[in-house]
Symmetry: D2
Subunit: 319 residues, 4 copies
């Protein structure tokens, strides 16, 4: 199943479940400082949305004894495509199971990526209906803009650590039809990172090498704000709110996005991003960054911070 040039079988990244050992602090952080909206609770989970999202939610916080990824869900472009994707997975020996329907969406097929991350694909979804105090006259907007805290517009992408970047990105290309847009390949031919897209955005999924040799770990989840000024404003909000900024704000070479990384109170790395470029060319050739490129640091010279290579979620147990 080759990538079909008018975009993938996946419409977009749907939502992310993140585990947190400090759910009360995480929840307070995401609602008060980040400005996400709580839309429901179920079991050990709380569901949150950003103001610009048409779906009910994008972030599921789940109480746990550790950090890391619960699962990541992609929305297929329609039910027929969903069925075809599942058939293809199963025909290639990838087993999974159908979940009857979760909070905010319909039937989902759940399976594990080559690196062990839990992946769900689904099509039927619940659209957000704003309560009266959050309705807006801007008819193309699902609800009133968030006015408290950072106020991101939407979930943007996820970065998954991978023990074998090449094998993993090939999997997402072949089984979800994602398009490879940029990659890091070192002089010895080893692939250190891959960026894939289901849309005109330059990436919706990033895969970066797990230097610690872990499996199924999370690198970060990113929310999008409308302007670089919003990222700068967020930096003040985070620092004054007692949240540790890991690195940034600065501009990525890859994707040209303006970034800010930090750790939410539970210990998971999140990013706020803005800017970047759209890919319009149906014949786009993946951009390759080499070892020398990476040695120069980010777009304006900021060196990649050490913890970026060493800290993943969940942590790897020392023997």
């Amino acid at each position: 199943m080759n990538w079909r040039p008018a975009f993938s079988d996946i419409a977009h990244l749907g939502h992310v479940e993140v585990l947190t050992p400090s759910i009360a602090e995480s929840l307070r952080f995401f609602t008060e400082l980040v400005g996400l909206f709580e839309v429901g609770r179920e079991g050990n989970s709380v569901f949150l949305r950003a103001w610009g999202e048409y779906q009910l939610f994008s972030l599921q916080l789940t109480e746990s004894n550790t950090t890391g990824l619960g699962h990541v869900a992609f929305r297929a472009k329609d039910n027929e495509t969903l069925a075809a994707l599942v058939k293809n997975l199963e025909s290639r020996g990838i087993t999974g199971n159908w979940i009857a329907g979760g909070f905010g969406h319909g039937p989902a097929f759940r399976f594990r990526s080559p690196d062990g991350h839990f992946i769900e694909i689904y099509f039927e979804t619940e659209r957000y209906a704003a309560p009266p105090y959050l309705t807006t006259g801007f008819k193309n907007q699902p609800q009133r803009r968030g006015i408290n805290g950072i106020g991101p517009r939407r979930l943007d992408h996820i970065n998954l650590l991978s023990s074998d970047v090449k094998a993993c990105r090939t999997f997402y290309q072949e089984f979800l039809g994602l398009r490879l847009t940029e990659q890091i390949i070192f002089d010895d031919g080893s692939e250190k990172g891959a960026w894939l897209s289901a849309t005109n955005k330059s990436y919706d999924l990033a895969l970066t090498l797990d230097h610690a040799g872990g499996h199924g770990r999370l690198h970060h989840v990113t929310y999008f704000v409308d302007s670089r000024e919003d990222v700068l404003r967020a930096a003040d909000i985070l620092v004054e709110g007692g949240i540790k900024v890991e690195t940034g704000p600065h501009k990525h070479n890859i994707g040209q996005t303006f970034f800010l990384y930090f750790f939410e109170p539970g210990g998971n790395r999140f990013e706020l991003g803005s800017g970047g470029y759209l890919i319009l060319d149906p014949e786009w050739k993946p951009i390759q960054w080499n070892e020398a490129d990476r040695a120069k640091g980010q777009a304006w010279g900021l060196k990649t911070i050490e913890s970026f290579h060493t800290y993943g979620m969940p942590p790897i147990e020392k023997p």
Copy 2:
């Protein structure tokens, strides 16, 4: 031929040919104040590009005794799709002719829209190769960022005046596979405007009613700048450069884009835009704006300026 949910048969808006009775002044304006780059001349035409575009050019300025649209070109997603599009057009009685290949692109099929605009569809294209003094270390960027003048990143969309908006937008939906994203429908059921997209952008083509009853006329061509600050900076550059701002900067309700309209020295209306939202939902339902919505003005209350409804290119001859 219904719209197929994984995006259209068209990859994106390709380029626009604009007629000008003052080509020297227009050219100086677009290169010195707007900051486009000249990439070639042929016959009565000069070809220009914005720094972020992968194709050779996006604007063809053609000397003429009037203003208005020469033609607008869309890039099909591949050669098979191009052939299928042409076959479908011809099977429905829409005639056109193949052009062997123009400046910067391969074979194109040229035909007229229901309103008489000249349309071209093509697939093969020439990629821009930057001269040494314009190369960049940012590998995902076709050339060095423009540093003089306004410096837009890329062509964004075109707005064509139409004597029958509904008929025209149905044509673009059926024959180019564009997706209808927003529209203006008045209380009497008449359709005053339609916005269509070939990408995740909320529109690549707009159709608005020609109140003067003209045919084949242009409303405006829009270039995209990276930030709203860039639009504000552009407003100063235009005013100090002696260019008349028609309206803005302000925010559109439709598309949520931040806009600035002005007339280039030849008399054609251009827009600079930034912001807006991406459409990720494969089941997107067109947003409908009614008469009361429109009476409120733009997003923050600015009334639509009279000339917006009366001034089109070319002008209609008074009898």
Copy 3:
């Protein structure tokens, strides 16, 4: 040779008392949408501050049966200057009275301007001490940045309607030592507006002609936000919050400030502003704008809105 503490005899605009017939709605608006902080109540008044202000408060909202200015207060550069200012006022026949000390500040001399506005001048002031949940590690900032709503940094200026602009501005020049920086003078020699400064900012006080022939009326009060992006974000917040934007965002010719005007729920006009230029030249000559200049509209062509000339606070009773 020690540093002399002030530019003019006035250090800066201190605070503004605004009357509102809807104090509950006004208060909710200023705290929830604007993001000012309530710091106290006394009598019919509530006191509010912006996060960047070293003084306790800058806005006093007072319940009333009308809109308009309660009083405006300027901080003198020291106690000796305050005494000298009062002596000069009294020696020239301007009577007033000492107020023992109000909420947040020490003794103030209260008098009426030539147009009847109540003015107070004071020196001793109460500095804001942030409660634990609003302290900040940014030592040069009085409290944590406001993260909810619009979040202005500080009070910027006030615009008072005047029945005789020339007489009034001369008064502020002669009795408070303010510097005239810009003015509007029509072809018949009549002065339509004057902008005066106590600082390097291009104005702290504006006087504009009361076309309705009122006395002692308010045109608007302005808060400063850090960026033009903040003004644009505010426009969304206001519109979605049901607040009428009167005009803007746009750029003033005078002062080069980026502006947005709206009416708070009580009916008083407020402005959010950003940008502008600093005056460093000790020999600055007032900039004169004439009738033709004004006919061109604001910096990018926006016409001055009719209500700008007709709506003042309090309204003038129709006979």
Copy 4:
């Protein structure tokens, strides 16, 4: 009681002379990439201005066999103050000499600071008169906004390395009447940096410790751009133009300014800055940052780069 023209005895930082061993490259850089305007040449010097400056020039580039400061000039608030300043300097044993008048300004008194930097103070100055192609309808602006390259509005401040920060800052307080606004004092009581102001800006002059034990050396010269977006845009322009960014963009704790440091082709460190806060309080107490504060890095955590402490102009000869 007339307006007294200045804050301190100094109105503002006037201009800076910078030595460069590569004047052709430096000049090309400042005119083409930074977007300063050349206004004259004299001897080995070229004079440059930013578009928002009322004076003729702010930067004098002088060909030399080394880098570093030629001299820094401050404009006194009037001729009487200038005379008083000189008298005070001489009465305290500080000798200097009157220069009859230089390019763009009248008589200046030239002397050396305690650390050996050449300082000039002057009052009479030449105002810039724009040539026809650079005139503007914005009457409060000396010329048309620069539209090429980075386009800073004005010179902002200078940072001088000092072997004894306390002695030096006391000198500028006592002899030029500057106000101490912020300072770095380590746990052992040693003063590592001092920020002084002649205006409502939080600083016009910074003094930081010369760790290499040099004398009379330059740390950097800063130009101001209108927005943080302009700083980010500048970062791209510099990097793509082959200019090394030393550190940033990021936000200073001190002054709250958004910064970007780089080396011009001659080897001198320059900064682009925006934002910051105004000091309105006439009783402002200097903010003290201690060793622990500094260990936290800049506002959002960026560590101060090593070269910031080791690289000064001119370089110190190794014995």
